[in-house]
Symmetry: C3
Subunit: 230 residues, 3 copies
């Protein structure tokens, strides 16, 4: 239907593709659907057969279909590849999307809450029940999974990944590509370098140098605490 | 008042009893009230005196009143007995309710979020601030307490119990009657057997055989991690 | 504008000051704004220069401006000083406000949920994504940060502090001025004394005497658990 006088835009920003059809993508497909403001054209995945479905959304093919989608007027994409354990997998999807001419808006589940003074850059995902607090900055491509808390004034690098339940206190700085496990905690004012892997349930008390792996369930730095009456 | 033409149903599905009047039941009574679509007829409890109240809802008596309630046209029940530490307590309440002719709809607090592609079977409770993700299956009678995350593709057995803040990664399978403690984490793809007890804050990294007890605050399997620069 | 017949009240309860302009105050300013029912007159802070701004709200001066504000018809205040590690800092702000003639309503973020049978006293703050359950009592001045769960029948003392993700099971009693760290868990029925410091990720299994410090990532009481098949 033609709408008289309404301007013709270069593309329809409501039509979106999801890049990635694995487990995580199911949470992200549901998030995009429940937002109500997007129509999912389909899933792009390099290993799922074209014509199959992921929870009801059709698989369109692999990266080779991106130029066709652009020609068809689709320019909006969501990267649903998590890259847990290897951030380059998620990063490379962003590279493919950018080269093909797509843009990636931040996506926030309606049950999450983002304070208006926080800043989410492009490609950021914030999943159900999470919270990003006042004055925090979340750089491009970062994935904030369920029930995560990012407190006031935090600065999170590009393509960082926060697993469900991670709690980051105020004034924490996290370098690019660092991944923080489920229910891990990071103390106020701590600096975590880039490309760190922080395991599930880890307790981070002090700064963590770039490239460090902190194992699940451990305390950083290691110490022998003696609980006592004060 | 008689409503012309509107059909007469066998029973009024909006009238509900709560079985159990202990501590947990207060959270569940509040959940049922805030949903707005149920009228609580009263509490059935075998040890609280008939005629007393639980946060304003009357105690009707013990299991002996179930047949009277059925005759009175009540058929909908919510099992608010937790059975932490002994799953048979919760299971036996379901048996009494089924024998008397009641049905138990799933109950979801309005601040929780269930992805539409997830499946909750009968008798499942999901309390405030929790999340059940895409394609997950939650079998009958399971209790998902506050701020729990059940990720994509999980399959949770019958009458399992997830305490506040438990975080279950994607593709996890949990056997019947297993209980997972507060803020415990379970890694992606892990299989937990039936009748396990996982303590508060436990970090589950690998499969757990049926009948295992993992103590609070411990890592499974036990290991001596050495945090280091990669 | 004059409103005919509408009574003249002693003060306008919708005009509010925020006492404290540090990091935590950004989360609290955002919480007060999103509630929609308050107008923030400004920030009172003893160390930030008058005339500067905190995420867009003006700093009015230090404690010396409180009498002027009272004279101007402002009587409602929110204490956004956390006092982590030293509860007297937060307590003294309440003393200044009370002496000057202010009152401090409880403030609850709209994404938090408080069961109607719970009781929040004055000066209590409940931040985003948290939950306070049936029949719980939260005494004056307590700060419940993000994604905290306070279960049924808990009694929390005055000016206690619960950091993000702390999970408190049912029937727990916490004494005045105690602070509980991020993602710490407290077992059902435990009594924690006053002026305790419970570290991040701590696992509290049994009663904790007043004045005890439990270090981050530790189990209380200390034990050497042997996980095993039952």
């Amino acid at each position: 239907m033609n709408i008289p006088d309404f301007p013709k835009f270069d593309f329809d920003a409501s039509r979106v593709i999801i890049y990635g059809g694995g487990g995580l993508s199911k949470m992200i497909i549901e998030t995009v659907r429940v937002l109500g403001c997007y129509q999912i054209v389909g899933i792009v995945d390099d290993s799922i057969p074209k014509g199959s479905e992921v929870i009801g959304s059709p698989v369109l093919g692999g990266a080779e279909v991106l130029p066709d989608l652009i020609r068809d007027g689709v320019r909006t994409a969501v990267n649903s590849v998590g890259g847990i354990g290897d951030y380059t997998v998620r990063l490379n999807v962003f590279k493919s999307l950018a080269e093909a001419g797509f843009v990636c808006p931040p996506i926030v589940h309606p049950s999450a809450h983002i304070d208006p003074s926080a800043r989410l850059m492009d490609g950021v995902l914030v999943l159900a029940q999470s919270y990003v607090s006042g004055n925090a900055v979340v750089r491009s491509g970062t994935l904030i999974n369920n029930s995560v808390v990012i407190s006031h004034d935090c600065v999170l690098g590009s393509c960082t990944n926060f697993s469900p339940g991670a709690k980051i206190a105020g004034d924490v700085i996290v370098g690019d590509y660092t991944q923080v496990g489920m229910n891990a905690t990071v103390n106020i004012g701590v600096k975590i370098g880039s490309k760190c892997l922080i395991g599930n349930g880890a307790t981070i008390k002090k700064d963590v140098p770039s490239g460090t792996r902190v194992y699940a369930g451990t305390i950083w730095p290691a110490y022998k605490p003696k609980n006592k009456k004060k």
